[in-house]
Symmetry: C2
Subunit: 208 residues, 2 copies
């Protein structure tokens, strides 16, 4: 059975929702980041990066949200979570997810994870990073609103694996000091996502 | 015909090499970053992100290295650049490429693109980021060396689209102040990559 390692309010929610949407048989393992469980030897043996998500399969461990999302779409084709027979459409979807992981999530991470890129005790540099987050994250969502979110779903009429990923990162806007009302399409997307049974089930499980 | 927009010494080299390996019919368009050509309206109409690579196809534009690499592998299956019929193996490959784009490239970018995450005129914060790059990039390649590079190619015996991507980022180690000799498998990989006709052709074209 598939086993998803996650922590609440992390990007692992995207994979969690996708497993629900796919109708997959899976279980979850919660890591407590406040107790630094992701850095304990037991978990580093599963994912040496010390991050979530990780998805244990009968063939081994998978990491990285875009890879896990594509794996779920390919493993559960009946759920129609990606255009699997159209290399161009699949690449457009993957480009969206790659932008989320390499640019949007990274911009966000400078608020609470600045120690990755400057010395942890350099309080001025950490603060300089935090100060820029509303601008850098805001610019990312401005681009998503203007250029990338076709509507009603990210890729257009077909719901796909980029929708739970966008929803997950849009959940962080308030904390990042970005008013989602600036982005009507993103706000509408987030609201419609929040009403989906799979999304409600994944969130309830993570809060439970 | 496919058209790759690139700038020399950028991550676009990975896609350039993959097009060569695939035997694709393509042309290239060079952008001069010193002249800020990636920010000019003509290019922003192609890629609103103002970044490279971008791949123009007869169906539209693709961006983001992991997405372009998977598109090339799927569009030229005879070149066998990815395990297209094995969702788990494909996901392992994609996880590697996702780590390169979201963690390795990002760590590197803090040396010359720190203004993305702090105010451009905050010289102390910019310098604090640059100071950490040898450590953060070094830790990434330490993980690649220990856990991810199966050898002789990234995924093992089969050359794949993650090999040109790793090669491209390993080209930056010297500039990032990281001695590649710390990573014997990465160093061996870089040397064998540099001898491949497709790699030599792509580099010669970019320097020409």
């Amino acid at each position: 059975m598939l086993k998803l390692f996650y922590s609440p309010n992390s990007c692992a929610l995207a994979s969690h929702i996708a497993l629900q949407e796919a109708g997959a048989d899976y279980e979850t393992v919660r890591l407590d980041f406040r107790a630094n469980e992701q850095r304990k030897p037991e978990y580093l043996a599963i994912n040496p990066k010390g991050r979530v998500p990780a998805l244990a399969t009968d063939r081994g461990i998978l990491t990285e949200t875009p890879a896990i999302l594509a794996y779920i779409a390919q493993s559960f084709p009946k759920a129609r979570l990606a255009p699997l027979d159209d290399a161009f459409a699949f690449a457009r979807l993957q480009a969206f997810n790659s932008y989320l992981c390499s640019t949007v999530h990274v911009a966000h991470a400078h608020r609470l994870r600045g120690y990755r890129w400057v010395d942890a005790d350099d309080a001025a540099a950490i603060a300089a990073m935090q100060k820029k987050v509303p601008q850098s994250v805001g610019e990312c969502f401005d681009l998503i609103e203007r250029e990338m979110l076709a509507g009603p779903w990210v890729m257009g009429s077909a719901y796909a694996i980029c929708d739970p990923y966008l929803f997950t990162l849009a959940q962080w806007l308030d904390g990042d000091g970005v008013d989602i009302a600036r982005f009507p399409k993103v706000a509408d997307h987030r609201q419609r996502m929040a009403e989906r049974p799979a999304v409600r089930a994944a969130i309830a499980a993570e809060l439970g």
